[in-house]
């Protein structure tokens, strides 16, 4: 059996498919994780902004 045959073997093909599924899954999870972080960060920024506004008001008021 030569190298070309090996690269086309069903086991190798399956192995590559499985690896691709795994990598894709992890990538999707990472994207969702980033999204989660962004939601939290944006909200914290908003809260900080509100806090700043509150402080400004208290100073100017």
């Amino acid at each position: 059996m030569n190298n070309t045959d090996q690269s086309n073997s069903p086991i190798k093909e399956t192995s590559e498919k499985i690896e691709a599924i795994y990598n894709e899954t992890i990538a999707k999870v990472k994207t969702l994780e980033q999204e989660q972080k962004k939601v939290i960060t944006d909200y914290i920024k908003k809260l900080e902004q509100e806090k700043i506004e509150q402080i400004k008001k208290s100073i100017t008021g």
Binding site: S9, I11, S15, V29, L32, E33, Q36, K37, V39, I40
Partner: protein, 408 residues
């Protein structure tokens, strides 16, 4: 120096080993299983980590809210809800990944089984190759330039198509060498016999049995005194079994009768008798009989086949049944022994059956003597239990016949 060089080379080999392994990648089912287990475990871990990350982010949020002291509970709850939804999505993505991996690996492990199960015992790949070669092979046959390998392939390819007509045409075509025609028949016979096509296989076996230069010489199979090919027995057994499976008991019996004496033939004989008994016992009665009645009924049910075998002059089969009857008679006798009066009527019934069967055995002995099968006749005579048969008379007659054979 030379030794040192050798050591260095070995050292290089040792260093090279793992790299080669990496380059080699996954090539065996074991490697694949390992990879699947590893990636599934990683995904399982990813599930936990994902949940932990979500919780950490929520904690971070709570802490920040507390630090800032900005009270907006509704907005905070809405953010937490969104984070929770995203967490659900992450878990679903991981679950889906696990399922996809499982299904992909299942498909691969099922592939070899499919290959084995393809019709006529050939892999899908081999079948395709043969089908593609068919036009070329037929052309070679047409021009009379068929070598033995091509002849075998042609037999296989045509059998794959179930084209017994074309096979017949080719094996009768005298422009093709006899040896090549035998190869066509031999390979298609093997495929038909092993794949539940008994009628086609039987025709080809009969054809080959008439070819004097056929190397396996299946005709020897019909001479029960000679050694012969196990392959032929195997094929005959498969043909008989296929007939039996399809309910064609008579054809199964005919093929079994042609088999060489031995364990295969005996086993087929037993299966035939069981089948005869199966069909003799009414279906609706099977469940209600107790063990003893079943034995009795089984015994009775052999009378029919024995009667027919004797009537049709099928001495081989009649003898087989007769021997089977003897075994069953022993079982029955043991069961009737030590039984109380309640069993008497059944015992009488069995006695009547026995007498009827012994009469048939007597007819069988008559036929065996007529056909000069005196040893067999003697054996059957010894097994007769009923006093209504004059065993002494028959014994004297057989002895006289034996003496006559010796004198001649």
């Amino acid at each position: 120096m030379a030794l040192e060089n050798q050591k260095n080379e070995e050292g290089k080999e040792q260093i090279k080993g793992p790299d080669q392994q990496l380059e080699k990648g996954i090539e065996s089912p074991v490697d694949l299983e390992k990879q699947i287990a590893e990636l599934t475990a990683k995904l399982e871990l990813a599930k936990k980590q994902a949940a932990e990350v979500s919780q950490t982010e929520v904690n971070k949020l709570d802490k920040k809210v507390e630090e800032l002291g900005v009270a907006n509970p509704e907005a905070t709850a809405a953010v937490k809800q969104e984070v929770g939804n995203l967490e659900d999505q992450k878990q679903n993505v991981i679950k889906s990944g696990e399922e996809q991996i499982s299904q992909t690996s299942k498909k691969t492990t099922e592939q070899p089984k499919e290959k084995i199960k393809t019709p006529l015992g050939l892999t899908q790949e081999s079948q395709e190759i043969l089908q593609n070669k068919l036009p070329e092979l037929l052309s070679a046959a047409g021009s009379g330039k068929l070598n033995f390998k091509q002849a075998e392939d042609l037999g296989l390819a045509l059998a794959l198509n179930g084209d017994i007509g074309k096979i017949n045409e080719l094996i009768m075509n005298e422009s093709i060498g006899q040896s090549e025609r035998n190869d066509i028949a031999k390979e298609s016979l093997r495929l038909f016999a092993d794949s539940g096509h008994p009628a086609e296989a039987e025709k080809l076996l009969n054809y080959l049995s008439k070819q004097p230069d056929y190397e396996v010489k299946p005709e020897d199979a019909f001479n029960r005194e000679k050694m012969f090919s196990n392959e032929t027995t195997r094929l005959q057994r498969n043909i008989a079994q296929s007939y039996l499976d399809s309910g064609d008991i008579d054809s199964a019996k005919n093929v079994t009768g042609k088999m060489m004496k031995g364990v295969d033939r005996d086993a087929m004989g037993d299966r035939l008798l069981n089948k005869y008994q199966e069909v003799s016992v009414p279906e609706n009665m099977k469940d209600v009989w107790d063990d003893k009645t079943q034995q009795e009924q089984k015994y009775k049910s052999l009378a029919g086949p024995l009667e027919r075998a004797v009537r049709e002059d099928d001495l081989e089969f009649a003898t087989l049944i007769s021997n089977k009857l003897e075994d069953q008679y022993k079982n029955l006798s043991e069961q009737f022994q030590n039984k109380g009066t309640a069993e008497i009527s059944k015992g009488e019934d069995a006695d009547l059956t026995l007498r009827k069967i012994d009469q048939l055995r007597e007819t069988l002995i008559q036929d065996l003597v007529k056909n000069k099968k005196l040893d067999q006749a003697e054996k059957i005579l010894q097994s007769i239990k009923s006093p209504s048969v004059d065993k002494e008379k028959w014994s004297r007659y057989i002895t006289a016949q034996k003496a006559e054979v010796v004198n001649n």
